[in-house]
Structures are given as C-alpha cells and as structure tokens.
Amino acid sequence: MKKVLAMLLIATLVLTMFAGCEKKEEEKTEDMTVGFIYVGPIGDGGWTYAHNEGRLYLEEQLGVKTLYKESVPETQEVETEIRNLIDQGAKVIFATSFGYMDFVEKVSKDFPEVTFFHCSGYKTTDNMANYFGRIYEARYLSGIVAGLKTESNKIGYVAAFPIPEVIRGIDAFTLGAQSVNPDVEVEVVWTYTWYDPASEKEAAVALLDGGADVIAQHQDTAGPQQAAEEKGAFSIGYNTDMKDMAPKAYMTAPIWNWGPYYVEQVQKVMNGEFESHAYWGGMNENTVQLAALTDLAPEGAQAAIDAAKASILDGSFHVFQGPLYNQAGELVVAEGETLTDGEMLELNWFVQGVVGNIE
C-alpha cells in the first residue's frame, strides 16, 4: 500500500514537471492590456458570454493582451477587482454590468491615466465612457414573433431588475407584439438577479402555469428557455443565439455584437484619440441584431420582421413613437411625438398591455 502511494507521488511529481516544461506561458509583447470584469461566468451562454466574444474578437483584431475576471458581484468587490486589473497592467477597463457604475465612476477619478468603459449605465467622467446598445429595437422585432405565435394571448416575461434598461425592453417587446396582435398581454415577473439559472427558470414556470404560452426574458442564462421547453411552450431568448439550449422552444433572440465597438474604442485609446462619450449603438451600427428565426417561428413572422426592420433602419419608424399609452390607459406620448434618448434612458413606466408592477 505504501509502495503504491509512493509510486503515485513520484508519478505526480514527474508529470507536473513534464507539463511545466512542455508549455510555456505565452507572453504577448504589446504594451496595451485591456481588462474586463464580468457579472457572471463566461459559460452563462448569455450576457457575459456575449461580452467575452467581444473580448476574443478584440484580441484577434488588435493583438492586445486582455485580462478578465468572472462572477464579480455588484458590490465593493468591483472596485477591488478593477484596482487588481490595473495593478496587473490594464490600461483600459470594460465593466459590463449596470450595478458596477458607481464603483467605476469612483475608481476612474483615482486613475486618470486609465480609460474606463461602463456598460448599460448613465454616468460618464473625463476618462469613463458609457456604452450600451439599442437592444429595444431588436426586442421590438422579437415581440412581433411572440405576438404572432401566442394562442393564449398571454406572453410571460422573466425580468431581472425594475431599472430603465429592463423596463425599456419590456415596453418595446410589448409594442412589437401588439403591432401584430392587439389583444396580447405581457406578464412580468421580477427575479432581482442577473445570473441565477434556478430562480429564472422558476419564474418562467410560474408564468407558464399562469397561462402564458410564449416566454421572453431579460436574464443572463437560458433558464427560462428550458422551462418553456419542458412545458411544451415557446420562447424568445436574449443576449446570444440560444438555439442549442432549448431546441424545442427557442424561436429567436435579440442579441449583442460587442466586438466592433471594443476594437474601435481600444484603437482610439491606443492612438490617444479617446473622448469620453455615451455610446448607444442600434441595428444600424450592428451592435444589436435579431438572431435568425428557427423553424418554430410562426408563419409570416419573417416578412413582418423584415418590414419593421427596414422601417427602423431607414428611420421612418421609431419604436417609441406616439401614440403611446401607459398601463392606466393615459396618453403619455402623443401622436407625432417620439421619446428622446434621454427620456428612454430614464424610462420608468409600462405601456398598456403589460401586466405587472414596477418595484
């Protein structure tokens, strides 16, 4: 027995030494290092996955060195992790969750030589830009698919936090669904989490039990998709193409494409041309898209989407153009008016047809 143990030990030692010699750490010589902090694990198949795809694209295009840190909670931890990344050489920081905002703002003032990019918030400083995408455009299109598909005229929407970003998505989705099916209702459940597969799935199950036959989501995982598949219902994903995660339910998803923006901005920082800004790219900039429809999508959906998409792209139609009514049926945006970017960034009311409360 002791002999066996001894042999095992020796084998282990030899193996590790061998492995050590075999692979040398690849040192990148470029002096630009870019750090990313993510709210979930890369393997979430959603939000963080999409940002990580952007990071890989950035590495590939510019050959810069990148660092990342996964699963950073929206607490003081953010500040610590950003400082750690800077300590490890990062000159540009991408912080990719709403709740990181105040911490990024604070650190940006301590490190004027570092450039910060915060995703999905509304604050900027001299060296901190804010970026996001007009995902509501793609959500409107996904609403059309859901509106055509539903038979119970009840669509469930699993949503993370009652913040403007999420509310805007729900409103746009509902307007899209109503554009093809005026009787449709969108029921919202808040999970108060970005990343928690179990509770997201549970929320979807509750909506399905309540009579919904299509599930949409503003969450980082495919939990709600799987709930829909298990209940024999249909689903609209988010963030990335979620076809493989729920092949019997998934129809399409509003998806992100961060790579081009990351490349453009890091290039600017390297050239010393960076200017603080609030970026909000839409379908025209290709920052957001609607994923390809699967066979489960209803008939006529592609044509309806193409038409709506064309009118958004050429500017003849805006998702938030009047007349728009709130849940109480009051006219909020009159005919001929359109919400400004500022108003959309602060949006805090549901349109008529949404079932649920903010807060």
């Binding site: 027995m1 030990l9 282990t12 030692l13 193996l15 590790t16 061998f18 492995a19 050590g20 010699c21 692979k23 040398k24 750490e25 750090g35 694990p41 890369i42 393997g43 660092l67 990342y68 840190k69 996964e70 699963s71 909670p73 929206e74 607490t75 003081q76 931890e77 610590t80 992790e81 400082r83 750690n84 990344l85 300590d87 490890q88 709403f98 709740g99 105040d102 509304y122 936090f161 009652p162 913040i163 403007p164 509310i167 108060y192 602060e346 805090n348 903010i358 807060e359």
Partner: protein, 354 residues
C-alpha cells in the same frame, strides 16, 4: 484493513510533521490539477504568492481580507472555548452591519468621531443581541445552538435583503436595489494606507487574549468548556458566563459588520458578509483556539483567497478552477487534523487465494 486509534498524546514534532505533510500533499495534488489545465504548477504557485504579497498594494489588499477573518475568528473562538458551537458568525456580521448602517444613514449630521463611535457600539450590540437568541434558548430550554445559530444566518440575510430591496432602497439608484452609500462622516479613516479596522482588530485580539488568560471570566469559560459538571461543582454561574461570553462573541462578529460596512463597502448590502462568518470557523479551528495564532492563520487564508484571485487573471484560469485549488489546499490542511487526533494502523489481512 485499516484500524483507527485515538492518539493519547501527540508530540509537538509529530504534530508539525503531520501538518507539513498535509501542506506538501495539498500542493502536489493541486499541481496535478494545474498541470491538467495546461499550466506550470511552479509558476502558478509563485504567482499566487506574488499576487498576495508581491507589492505594497497587494499586501494591503490581502490584509483587507485578513481583518474580517481575524476579528470574526476571535469572536467565534470565545464561543468555541465553551463548546458553544457558534456557526452564526455570518448572521451576526450582517446584524452588526445593519445596526451600524442604521446610525450611518440616520445620524450623518453628527461629527465624524461621534458617529463612528455610535456605529461601533451599534455594530457590537447588533451582533451581540443576534447571538443572545441561541444562547438564551440553550440555557433556558437546552436547545441545539448549532442549528439555531446556523438558521439565524438566513434570517439575517433575508432581513438585509428586505431592507435593500424595500424600505432602504436608494431612490437615486433608479430602481436598482441598493442601499445609499454612506457619507464621508461614516467612513473609517485610514492609517498607513489601510483603514483603521486593523487597529480595532489588533486591540481586540490583545484584549481578548489577555482576558482569556488572566481574568476570572476567561478562566470560567475554559472550565465550562472542559466540563460543565466541574464548573457547576465549583460554583461557577454557568448561565451568566455563557450568556455574557456569547454576547461578546456575537458582538465581535458584529464589529466585523461595522468595519466592512463603514470602511470597505461604504454601504450595506447582502453581499457584505462574503462568507467571512464561515471562513472564520475554519481559521479558528486551524489556530486551535489560540488568539495569537489566529492572526497568522487568517493572513495565510487571506493570501490564499487573494492569490487564487490573482492567478485567475494572470493565467486566465476560470473562477471555479481557482476555487477548486483553494478548497483542495484547505481540504488537506483540515484533513490533517484527523491525523493529529487519530493514528492508523495497517493490518495485514489474510488473502483468500482462489
């Protein structure tokens, strides 16, 4: 087959040998794991050390993690000395943070030293009262304190969640559930680049070790821990001693909450306790309930956490893999406790040959 025998006594040299072997085994096993991921174990280890102690900044960051672990361990140690299994450090930290936050949010017009003093007292009382609940039930109805302290953690957690998502939600955060940041008045100042929680921690370690060693109260605690019957026979007021000791135990954990809320988070959030209440149980055990050993043990633990986090970015090792490494090292070190208490005898079994 293997037989297990309890050791009667263990020589210091043996005890050291066991622990050193455990650490070496831990590193060898982890090396295999690292090698499987395609990295050089030696460079990963050296970079873990570098990540924890490599620069002035990193040392400060490691100490920032060590402070709550040290303080919570000291608190838990007092209860453990009496064989009162306080698994509720996590909840006591949160309730201490809650009371400190109450003062920080409601009385931010007070001068800074006064406000911090109130927050300090609030933190202590908050954690202490939370620990009194299981102590009271144990002494009154002989309930199991392990279960009650553990369960109270979740109640505290849900209470903070309620505050964060409900009445204390910052209206300026536009629907995002967070409690407002403290004003500068409520934030602990720094000394030598590190918030003065380190001075509070050092002072408490010294006071508590002196009290355990030289005071009558400390002596009572030790006697109760050795044998309740002996304590009763010698006329010690067990109820009073246990309740006061558990109050102080919880109170010190509550101070962790105060320090973390004031100096680190600068607000209250559900993530504030960050598992320190559980981590402290491990470090308390590892230090064999000796206050002065708690400090190095906690710093080493903090280094493991920081080093693990460093290699994540340095080698692009996934979060979960870095945690596996940490756990593996812990597993061996804690597992070695078993060999310090028991010895194994190898029996030759007659083999039946077919």
């Amino acid at each position: 087959m293997i037989n297990m025998k309890k050791r009667t006594a263990i020589k210091p040299s043996q005890s050291i040998l066991i622990r050193v072997t455990a650490v070496i085994l831990a590193f060898i096993t982890s090396s295999l794991f690292i090698a499987l991921m395609g990295h050089n174990p030696l460079s990963v280890y050296s970079s873990m050390f570098d990540g924890a102690f490599g620069t002035h900044y990193r040392i400060i960051e490691t100490l920032k993690v060590a402070i709550p672990i040290i303080l919570a361990s000291i608190g838990i140690m007092i209860a453990f000395k009496m064989k009162f299994w306080n698994i509720g450090g996590e909840g006591q930290i949160l309730m201490g943070a809650f009371m400190a936050t109450f003062f920080a949010l409601q009385f931010d017009h007070l001068p800074k030293p006064l406000l911090l003093f109130f927050m300090f007292i609030g933190g202590f009382v908050g954690g202490g009262l939370w620990a009194l609940i299981p102590a009271y039930f144990k002494e009154k109805y002989d309930t199991n304190e392990t279960i009650i302290t553990l369960m109270l953690n979740y109640i505290a957690l849900k209470w903070i969640t309620y505050l964060q998502y409900g009445p204390w939600k910052d209206p300026a955060a536009k629907g995002f559930p967070k409690i407002a940041n403290f004003s500068d008045q409520a934030i602990l100042p720094k000394l030598f680049d590190l918030h003065i929680g380190w001075i509070i921690t050092l002072a408490i370690v010294i006071i508590i070790s002196a009290m355990m060693k030289y005071s009558k109260w400390g002596y009572y605690i030790t006697v109760i821990g050795e044998s309740r019957d002996t304590a009763r026979y010698s006329g010690i007021n067990i109820k009073k001693t246990v309740i006061s000791a558990v109050f102080i135990s919880g109170g010190i954990c509550g101070l962790v909450g105060f320090i973390q809320a004031s100096a680190v988070e600068q607000t209250l959030s559900v993530g504030l306790s960050a598992g320190y209440g559980f981590t402290a149980i491990i470090t308390t055990w590892l230090s064999a309930l000796i206050p002065m050993i708690i400090i190095p043990a906690s710093i080493l633990f903090a280094a493991l956490v920081k080093g693990g986090s460093f290699i994540q970015t340095a080698f692009q090792i996934p979060n979960s893999a870095a945690e596996v490494l940490q756990s593996m090292i812990l597993f061996f070190v804690i597992g070695s406790e078993f060999f310090a208490k028991y010895t194994l005898a190898w029996h030759k079994k007659e083999r039946s040959i077919k």
